[in-house]
Each structure stands twice: as C-alpha cells, then as structure tokens.
Symmetry: C2
Subunit: 355 residues, 2 copies
C-alpha cells in the first residue's frame, strides 16, 4: 500500500455510519507505551531511536503482515504527505516535523495506527466512526496485548505504565470523542457545557487535538486523568458524559428549529449561498460554513447533499488533501481558489428546503 | 396626488439614466432662504411658523398648481410616511420629527421639493439622476426666481442671503453629488481621496446627508463654503473635482478586474449567493451586499439583473418602504425576514458570468 491509496476513501474517522454519527464524528483511544532498556525519546540518542524504531517495525510486520500495514518513516516523507496523514488523524502534529527515526505504522483501513518515537516510544491508537467507546478500546487493547507479548513495556507495579510526560503515567490512555456541536454554538450554551466538563477533569480541544483551535464547531472531548483509575473506569466516565452532551446538542437543535427558525434557516441558507458561489475561500472559513451545512443536512433541510459528501468535503478542503488531489505544490492563494472550485462542485446543486 | 402614489416609481434620484449614472447616482442642489419680517425658525413663535407656512404654501400652489405638487404637513403624517419621504430624499431627517408647521411641497416627478420651516424658512432642492450639475442648478435657480418675485427673501448687500446657520450665509447653496465608489473601497484608496477632498473644503457624507453614516459605498460629496464665491464658481469647482473621482473609481475597477480578478469575482459571487439565499437580513447588510451587486452589474458580470432593478431594490429594502409595501407596522425582526423575501425575489435568478 502507498500513501496515495489513502485518498481513495475518507478513512474511518469521517465514515459517518457509526452510532450517533450525526453528532459524534468519531471515537479515538490511544495508549502511550515505552520500551524498557531505552531512555524516553527526549533523552534518547539517535542510535537509541533507530533501535526502537527497528524493533517495533519488525514486530509490527510480523504481527500484522506488511501487506495490511503502511509503514512510513516521517523523515522520508515530503511536507504534503506528512500533513496528509495529520489531516486524516493518523499521526500527530509532532510527527509532521519529520525528525529522524520518527515513524508510523498505519492499518490500511485506517482503523488503527502506531506512532513510533513520538513523545513516547510507542503510541497505539484506534479510531471508529461515531460513538463507539468499547469497540475502539478493544482494538487498542488487543494491539497492546499482542505487542507487549514480544516487547516488554516500561511498567511500575505502583504507578502503572511509565510515560515521558507525567500526565500520561498509569494507564497511558487517552479517550477522545470528536463531537460536532453547531447548535450549542449558535445558542451560546457551549461555553457552559465546556466549563462543566473542565470541572470533572475532561479536556476540550480543537479538531487536531492538543494546541489546535476549534474549527467548524468540531470539538474533541477527552480524559485528563490517566492515573488511579482503570481503563474501564475512564471509559465508563466518558461513556456517561458524552450522551449528556449529545442530549444538550439535540435539545439546542430542537430549540432553534422551534423558536429561531428564521435565524437557523438564514444561517444554513447563507452557508449554501456562499459555498455554492465563492471563488476563493480559506480552509478556516470553509470549515465554519460546512459546519452549518452539516447541521442543515442532519436536520433534513438540505437536499440532495448527504452527510457522506459533507464529511468527504471536510477532508478534501484541507491544505494537504487539496494539494494531493491537484497534484502540485500550490501557494496559499491558489489553494483558496482551488478550494472554492471543489466546494462549488460538491455543493452546486444543494437546495435548502423551503418550509 | 397622494403619498402612496410615490411608490409607483423609484423617483428621480435612483432613475439610473443620467450621465455617468453607473458611478454618480444623482446630483442635488439646494438653496437656503428665509423670509424677511420673520425671525429665523429657531426663534420664531408657533404663530410665525404658521404664517410662514401659509404664505409659502399659497404661493407654491399659485405657481405650480396643486395638481402637480404633493403638499404635506409633516405633523399630520405618520412616522412611516415621514420616513418614506426621507428615504426618497424628498425631506431631511430634521423634518421627520413631525413638529408643528413643518411642511414640504414635492413635485410629483420628484425632481424638486421645497421644505418649509426646516432649519431655514425655505429650502429649495432639486435632484437629477447622474452627474448633471448645471441642469440641477437651473431648476432651483428658476424656482428661486419665481418665488422671490412674490416673497421677499432676507438678503444683505454685503453678506448675501441670510440663513439661520452661518455656514449657509451668502449663496445659501449646497451642491451634493452622490457617488457609488465600491472599487475605491475595495482597494482601500477611498480614505486618501476623502482626505484630499477635505483639504479643498469639500465634505463627504453618508447616504442621508449630514450626520448619516456611509452605507453601501454611497457617498455624498458637497461644498462646505457658501460665502465669497458665486453659485457658478461653486458648481464649477465641484464640476472639476467629481470627474476626477469618477476617474479614480474607474481606474480602481480596472485594476481589480485585471489584477484581483478572483477577489473581485468572489466578492460579487458571494453577494449574489447570500442575497439570493438569505432568510433574514438587516437593511445595513443588504446595502453593503447590494453595493457589490451594483458593481457586478456595472461590470457586466451579473445577468439578467439590471441597474434599474438594483436601484429599485436599494429603495425597496429601506424600513419605511418595506412597511408601506407590506401595508402594516412590522417590528424590526419581521422587517428583516420580509426584506430577505424581497431580496430573494429580485435576485433569485441572478447569475454571475463565469470567465
């Protein structure tokens, strides 16, 4: 498999057929692990890093077969390819720097990926469409068991798994749920929801995780605590909270449809109007308007556009995807024009139902 | 003639067939006059004001015939009708207050109007489509001569015509040209143009004159000085300056079309996209977007919308016009929804030429 083969689909995280995927885009679980006998990556020599990469690489190929896995060394990828993987949530922003011996092993169906020599020696992550906590955890748990049988992980009886950053010590787990919350944004209640979440130690982040800005009303909600609770307890906590947020979003959508019909209709109609007419548009603005379109599609107000098309467009308008599809390095100005062309192509026939 | 008859047309100031009316919306000239034997309006008693009104009223009817003139006492008009006249530039904001014995005599074709007991006893104004300084001045000059033969105006050999505000003393003339300058707005050169104008004592104001904000890239440029120069000299000065500004605007349009094609096309396409889709819109935003539409129509980029339709829409979306056409008192929220309906009706078929 080649990187370009990824472009044939939108990948798992935007697949749209998971549970509650009108609101929950995807569920992601990752584990942070480190090999014994090596310093953490921050203190490891280049030689150490190479050895770590080789050991993990070998075991991954043995376990999963090289035909099912895309192995990439980020140093060998060009800038656009590295960002392509980031935009598909297969690697983190840190790995886009392309430093030596930073690598990733990616399942061809994009349901899981392993990052090598990111902050920790190994990050095991799985993603599933919609709200699917147990199934997603099961994937990483299986991967973790299989790898640990062959490679001993740094583990302390009292603390649990040892990680480069103390915030990951213990389970090393991070459970993240990506939600699309446009109605809570429109009613202004979203800040209140986020304040409540921070009180129970859940973090709210933007679309690309730590340090990224929220865009297109997409928010990642994830656990902050990894120590002192089991993986199952942490999943249970998130599993209780997310349905509450989904409920708030559904209530906000109903409130807008019942009481702010004109405002809601106007937002959605304008988004269609702008996106089906624009000649040049940034990815930031596109995301914001696509968020309204996504809401309109989910409320049955826009035809014949489907949720699949909207999710596909979310991915297609990202800078690296845009450049991959157009096959050359575009400057930002050209990108904005090409992005407008693609958006018009997707949404040119979109009609808002008048009622 | 009744006030409602005015609604059958867009009036003179938006007629679109005057010289250079793609850029110059209209030319307006007004004279400030006061009767001898009465104090200025600020010091006149209610009895004085009544007498002034009656004298002017009688003479106007004798001169022009009541069938050609709409005589209104603003106190007797309701709020919506007063603002209807303001939106048509037939009376000033001051007269919309509806104080006693404030009146107006309006030519049925809206080419001239007389305001009675505004700041001065009499304001004579004429408006013509496009840039038409001499013809417009000729109208007020004729009216002035005819009225002065029957009613002596306060005049001082040394100072000229005496007026309530010293800034009008002398000729009492104000020559205003309303320009549509969207391209200078987009290139950012407009501030420079305005700074140059202020250096030569020309004032720049918004669409409704003194104290009004510029909206929809419409600007009134007028003389500040009324004393020490003849009417002809003042007209000559404006007549030399306005073509310069027109030239700058044309150059800016050409620059944008040649060098910022995508940005220009995007602005115009988005304006069409929003206005043909919106469900609720303020008059301020409508004006701003209609300004882009007007530019697009003038550049031949939008079909089949005509300049006449755009100018008509400029007027139709104003609050009082909206209420007159819909026949009831709407609250601002309802107005925004109805305005969106009208805008969509006018621009639903608008297409931007792809080239």
């Amino acid at each position: 498999m080649q990187i370009n083969d990824l472009l044939k689909s939108t990948g798992e995280w935007l697949r749209t057929d998971g549970p509650q995927s009108d609101i929950v885009v995807s569920t992601r679980v990752r584990l942070a692990r480190n090999l014994t006998n090596f310093p953490f990556t921050t203190r490891a020599s280049l030689d150490d890093l190479q050895k770590i990469e080789q050991q993990i690489h070998t075991i991954v190929e043995e376990l999963f077969g090289s035909e099912n896995i895309l192995m990439v060394n980020t140093e060998e990828l060009d800038e656009v390819d590295r960002h392509l993987l980031l935009e598909r949530h297969l690697i983190s922003r840190e790995l886009t720097e392309g430093k030596p011996s930073r690598a990733a092993a990616i399942a061809c169906d994009e349901t899981y990926s392993l990052m090598i020599n990111e902050e920790d020696h190994l990050r095991i992550q799985a993603v599933r469409s919609g709200l699917d906590l147990n199934a997603t955890y099961q994937i990483v748990n299986d991967l973790d068991d299989k790898i640990e049988q062959r490679l001993p992980f740094a583990f302390d009886e009292k603390l649990g798994y040892l990680t480069a950053c103390p915030t990951n010590v213990g389970t090393g787990i991070r459970i993240s749920v990506m939600l699309h919350l446009p109605a809570l944004g429109l009613t202004g209640e979203i800040e209140k929801v986020f304040r409540s979440l921070s009180k129970i130690n859940l973090a709210v982040r933007g679309m690309f995780g730590e340090g990224s800005q929220a865009t297109g009303d997409l928010f990642q909600i994830s656990n902050q605590v990894t120590l002192g609770k089991s993986e199952e307890q942490l999943i249970e906590q998130i599993g209780e909270i997310i349905p509450q947020i989904i409920k708030y979003e559904r209530e906000a959508r109903k409130y807008l449809a019942d009481n702010k019909k004109e405002m809601l209709g106007d937002k959605i109609c304008r988004a269609v109007g702008i996106l089906s007419n624009t000649k040049t548009i940034t990815s930031q603005e596109t995301m914001q308007l696509l968020s309204q379109i996504r809401l309109g599609v989910n409320l049955g107000m826009i035809h014949p556009t489907t949720l699949e098309e909207v999710n596909e467009l979310f991915l297609r308008v990202q800078p690296a995807h845009l450049q991959k599809f157009l096959g050359n390095d575009l400057d930002p100005q050209d990108r904005d024009v090409q992005r407008a062309n693609i958006v018009r192509e997707y949404l040119g026939n979109a009609q808002v139902e008048d009622n």
